[in-house]
Symmetry: C2
Subunit: 219 residues, 2 copies
DNA sequence: CGGTCATGTGACCAACTGGTCACATTGTAT
DNA sequence: ATACAATGTGACCAGTTGGTCACATGACCG
């Protein structure tokens, strides 16, 4: 958590520092991110930096928390168009809305994901809890889909979780990599063409999970 | 390319140095990999190291080339059990054989892939050629599958390439992450359980791409 | 004005980094 | 034994890192 001194700063100054940190982590990952460059870019002295944050990890956690909170806020205002969606429709809505969010905060998303993967933090113990939450949520969705008969009963839950997780990550990576090349990411993500691409990708997954072994004659 | 002095070394000593480098890159990625640690671990002096290699990138490229050559050698000895495979069967064979290879050289694979992603080298210009090759190969496979009527004609090639690429990478990541936890990776990868998991993952993809029921129910 | 206290500063620290180089050691051929 | 080249060595270099600290600045209060 940042120290009180940081929270006392003007909104504007905080923004400058946060932006500098985001850029640094997005560009170099966690380990290689340089506090010297962050302070230089923000135009503050190193002493000040350490009056705002305990250490490097502290800024990073702050960015992570910011991103998580922004995401929660973002989703609060969004609601699926229909409440009678089937599980796959709902998942598709989730992914698409998630992509919209990513395109609002592309650098921050990149900074956090890159640093997490960089350090292997994501797979470490500290984030086991967070990962478990994602897994459980997906597992619940899948069980519901199975119950409703929307998914092939021979599909096992753990496998489906992996498939859905992989797919979400792959699409996120794609959006983040391709999106930064566009002049207006948000517009690009919301464009019919991109939406169709996401749809098609999700459909491939959907078809795979809806119909599997029961329809297939193994050799 | 390493200097002649390195190639003059005894097989044994070269192995020691290569192993140390592999461990270092696997553990820390490219940027954070330390030559000091490599020489300490190999028990050679820093001066010697720079008599063997031009610089850090030189060792890394050497490891990359080694891995590529080993892979070529590995695939030379392997052949699909049948020559009358359908495109998906062939792809499945490719993936599985690739996983076998990865489990023979798990640390080296990790070292190379990690460093590549770490530096963003993979997405840089230097590797555009290599990426293009992979893309072209996959695209050719997909076109063949479409021609043979094995794949839904409404699937577009670029999308299918992305799907297949994503799957391969996801499975590789999975194997590398889970595999290192096992006492005998090779055995684990070849075990019926793991093979079944890989099969299932590939089946999900396959069904998604085959799509139309009438086309994938074999007689 | 003086006093107090939060905030800002950059020189400084020890520990590293990749890379060099003058020198020591070894191997070989005469 | 001697000469000469190939190989091995670690102190050393300039540059970087994350983090500290004695001090400067300035805002508010009486």
């Amino acid at each position: 958590m940042p120290k009180q001194t940081f929270l006392n700063l003007s909104e504007e100054k905080r923004q400058i520092i946060v932006n500098a940190a985001v850029e640094e982590f997005a560009e170099h990952g966690f380990k290689a991110a340089s506090i010297n460059r962050i302070v230089a870019k923000s135009g503050i002295s190193k002493g000040s930096f350490y009056q705002y944050f305990k250490d490097k990890m502290d800024v990073f956690r702050y960015l992570m928390d910011m991103l998580a909170n922004e995401k929660i806020e973002f989703f609060k205002d969004k609601h699926p168009s229909s409440s009678n969606m089937d599980t796959f429709e709902y998942f598709r809505w989730l992914v698409k809305t998630g992509m919209e969010f990513n395109s609002v905060y592309p650098r921050m998303t990149r900074a956090v994901t890159r640093a997490l993967l960089d350090e292997g933090l994501y797979y470490g113990e500290k984030f086991a809890e967070y990962r478990q939450l994602t897994t459980d949520t997906l597992a619940a969705m899948i069980k519901q889909a199975l119950k409703r008969g929307e998914m092939d009963p021979s599909v096992d839950v753990e496998l489906a979780v992996m498939v859905m997780n992989t797919w979400t990550n792959a699409i996120t990576t794609y959006i983040l990599n391709e999106g930064v090349k566009q002049k207006d990411i948000m517009k690009w993500v919301c464009s019919a063409k991109t939406q169709e691409k996401i749809d098609k990708l999700l459909y491939v997954m959907e078809y795979g999970l809806r119909k599997t072994e029961s329809q297939f004659v193994k050799s």
